[in-house]
């Protein structure tokens, strides 16, 4: 069998396998093929983790009642634990219990919330509770009463009282009494100081208040701790507001209220170091379909079977093959010279984290400055490895400098450089300076420019929403991409750049 037929068979096999699996998922499992075809849900996942101490653990996680009542889809994940939901006076709690455990444990609870309809923070009617008068230390009782008295004279109802209290607490020119109280609370409860103080002041003013918790609806945050919120009683209803933005009614766009009712959010017995983190994702596929997918005999949905927090990583990882494909295309068919083969993919991945224009300017400035320092270093005749290390140090300092300058100039977003682009930068500078010395500045600039150009193409390709959707929900389509790469691997025609390179070719 010639190499050609082998290739053809491999390509056909990959195309049929990948395409067939995708087709099966679309037709039989009902996953929409196009991104816009479905309603988007927020999927919120709570991950409870604790260390088993060898006892029988029992974990209780408070759940958002509105979402459970709506029954848009919910799911608990925990291997080897028995699980049930408990209902008590309109509040739901997830309860896990298991046998003796040692070491790290992780429990998951996932719910679905339709986008932009309910923030879980709607006023709920309730019986008037007793406003508990908080006990202040004697030295603080008078200032607290003075603050509350002053606020009360200017406000008419609990809502405006709430707003006023938190404006006073977080305002710039706070009166002396507030500063005094703040110092006390900061000593007592550290990061929860503002909330505790607010609760006490509200209670003192006769408005019952208690802690609530919410989740930020921002998928990019990754695993986030719960956001503390405040719930207060306005005479007929319990309302939730964010003390950081007291004037704003929670409408379900930025925050989802997960827990209210005053009880504990999480309670673990038989375990240590317990904590809960939330992961949020926009999910176009209905939960029921996802469940079907996980149970299907085809191993087609391994990514979707993972918990949200673990799955989030793959959103980036599945993009790497796409970037690699763009590189293959631009190098072997178009013929753009690049520094190293996959450097452009790495640059493109780095660019995904920073806004494009700013990222490119930053890259150019850093590479230019780094190169200059690198040439200064080369006068010292250093050995290779220390020189690369010196380059890394200089790039780090330059990045810090640029971040500070960017921040001073009011570009708040300009400072989001992570570890990853840094290493790429140092490496680019080192390689570019070598080529500069060996082959002249023209080659060096052409190659770095080519890398950036390819990176920008890869970036735009990886940014297309539909492409991201396909690679994440239909990873088997990567097999089709693989088939394409194999075909290019046997392309023996001219590169576009060669049409120009050989333009002066004439027969002798």
């Amino acid at each position: 069998m010639s190499a050609r037929t082998k290739l053809l068979i491999a390509v056909l096999f990959l195309v049929f396998l990948g395409g067939g699996l995708a087709w099966h998922k679309v037709v039989h499992l009902g996953i929409p093929f196009w991104r816009g075809e479905s309603v988007q849900d927020w999927e919120i996942e709570a991950k409870v983790s604790f260390l088993g101490t060898g006892k029988r653990p029992k974990a209780r996680l408070s759940l958002p009642a509105v979402a459970v009542d709506m029954n848009r889809g919910q799911e608990a994940g925990s291997l080897g634990y028995s699980f049930y939901t408990e209902r008590n006076e309109g509040e739901y709690t997830a309860v896990w219990s298991g046998e003796e455990r040692q070491g790290g444990q992780a429990l998951y609870f996932r719910i679905r919330v339709p986008e932009g309809t309910s923030g879980g923070g709607e006023p709920i009617p309730g019986n008037p509770p007793e406003a508990v008068t908080p006990g202040f230390p004697s030295s603080l009782g008078d200032p607290a009463r003075a603050v509350v008295g002053r606020i009360k004279t200017t406000t008419s109802d609990p809502d405006s009282l709430f707003v006023s209290v938190f404006q006073q607490i977080s305002g710039e020119d706070a009166p002396q009494e507030i500063l005094l109280l703040k110092r006390h609370y900061e000593k007592e409860s550290r990061e929860m100081a503002v909330l505790d103080m607010g609760i006490d002041l509200l209670n003192l003013a006769g408005v019952p208040a208690r802690l609530a918790y919410g989740v930020r609806l921002e998928p990019d945050l990754g695993a986030q701790p719960p956001v503390p919120l405040l719930e207060y009683y306005d005479g007929a209803y319990w309302k939730v507001r964010n003390p950081m933005e007291p004037g704003q009614v929670l409408d379900g766009t930025g925050l989802y209220v997960w827990h209210r009712g005053g009880g504990p959010l999480l309670d673990v017995t038989g375990g240590e170091n317990s904590r809960v983190v939330f992961t949020v994702a926009k999910e176009p596929v209905p939960l029921r379909t996802l469940t079907d997918l996980r149970d299907s005999p085809w191993m087609v949905s391994t990514i979707l079977g993972l918990p949200l927090s673990e799955r989030a990583v793959f959103r980036y990882i599945v993009l790497i093959p796409l970037g690699a494909f763009v590189v293959v295309l631009l190098r072997n068919i178009v013929g753009i010279p690049t520094l190293g083969t996959f450097m452009p993919v790495l640059i493109a991945l780095a660019l995904l984290e920073i806004p494009l224009a700013r990222g490119l300017i930053m890259f150019s400035v850093l590479i230019g400055a780094g190169l200059w320092f690198r040439f200064l270093l080369s006068r010292l005749n250093l050995l290779v490895v220390p020189r690369v290390a010196a380059c890394v140090v200089i790039v780090t300092l330059l990045m810090m400098l640029m971040s500070v300058i960017g921040y001073r100039m009011g570009m708040a977003g300009g400072v989001q450089i992570t570890l990853f682009p840094m290493i790429i930068l140092a490496w680019t500078i080192e390689r570019m300076s070598l080529i500069w010395e060996e082959e002249g500045k023209r080659s060096a600039i052409i190659q770095v420019g080519g890398s950036l150009l390819v990176a920008v193409f890869a970036f735009f390709f990886m940014r297309i929403g539909q492409v991201q959707y396909w690679s994440f929900y239909f990873p088997e389509l990567l097999l089709v991409l693989l088939a394409g790469i194999l075909m290019i691997g046997r392309y023996t025609g001219y590169r576009l750049s060669e049409l120009i390179r050989f333009k002066t070719f004439s027969d002798a």
Partner: protein
Amino acid sequence: MPDGDQTASDVGVKWWHRWFRTPGELRDLGVVGINMRNARFLLPNNPRRLYRLVDDKLQTKALAEAEGLSVPETFAVIRTPHDASRIERILDKRYSFVIKPSRGSGGKGVLVIDEREGDLFIKPSGAVLTRDEIRHHVSNILAGLFSLGGQRDCALVEYRVRPAKLLTDLSYQGAPDIRCVMLHGYPVMAMLRAATKESDGRANLHQGALGIGIDIATGVTVRAVHHGKPVTKHPDTGVDLIGIQMPEWNKILDIAVTCQEMTGLGYLGVDLMIDEEIGPLMIEVNARPGLAIQMANGIGLLRRLEPVVKQHKENPGAGHYEKIAFSKHHFAAKIRKATS
């Protein structure tokens, strides 16, 4: 449509030739692109395991010496930083030499010293290096700065070739070398690479060096290109480039074919230099020879490679001299066309 513009050559001049050539035109000319070179000639004929023979110049030289080929004499091999620190003893009494990385490619990291004044070393361009600078260069080589993939390397200190007068005349500084491309042991194309002021003593065509095509049959230069455009005189010195007879051409072909036999590579380029006294010396073997040679000769490589593929299939057991005879017969330059 400027269709009536037919010239003597079989391809008419079209408006787009100022910018590019169509794939069809290039195919008609038999031009080989990088993708075709890799997929059709490199990959099937050059097994990966043979690359180390030519990527490491120490091994190539050892092979060549075993075959009785003449190569530049190795004065010393520097393998460890300890050796590097004793460089003055190694360079003692050497007044001209070349230091090169054993695994370098494309002339990277090659340092040529022409003369010496006490502790100062003078490059052909006249630049002066101290002993410390030489030691630093050697430690860069050892650290793998110039080697493929950045692996640790060793440095060779070699005899500095004194190129024959005939050849130095063709070059602005730097020593010209001869590149011969072979397939299955048949020499298919040859060129001389000469430095210009622009190329700064280097023989890389894309840096502005001259590519001078050589007739396989006779060893006479037939055509020269500078940045892809045909020229007849050296841009810096004004010396005539066409019609120069390479000395000992048959020996050069002989060395090239022997290199193919000793390495077993199917498709390769052999680089040679001609020393005033010793004659042709094998400098290195390249398992990925570039495509500029077609520009220098004005002939698409495919026109030479296809007959060789056919010949090799029909006559797989052809001997050394049979191959040379075949190439000389089939690849002789046609009657030279006046280009100026």
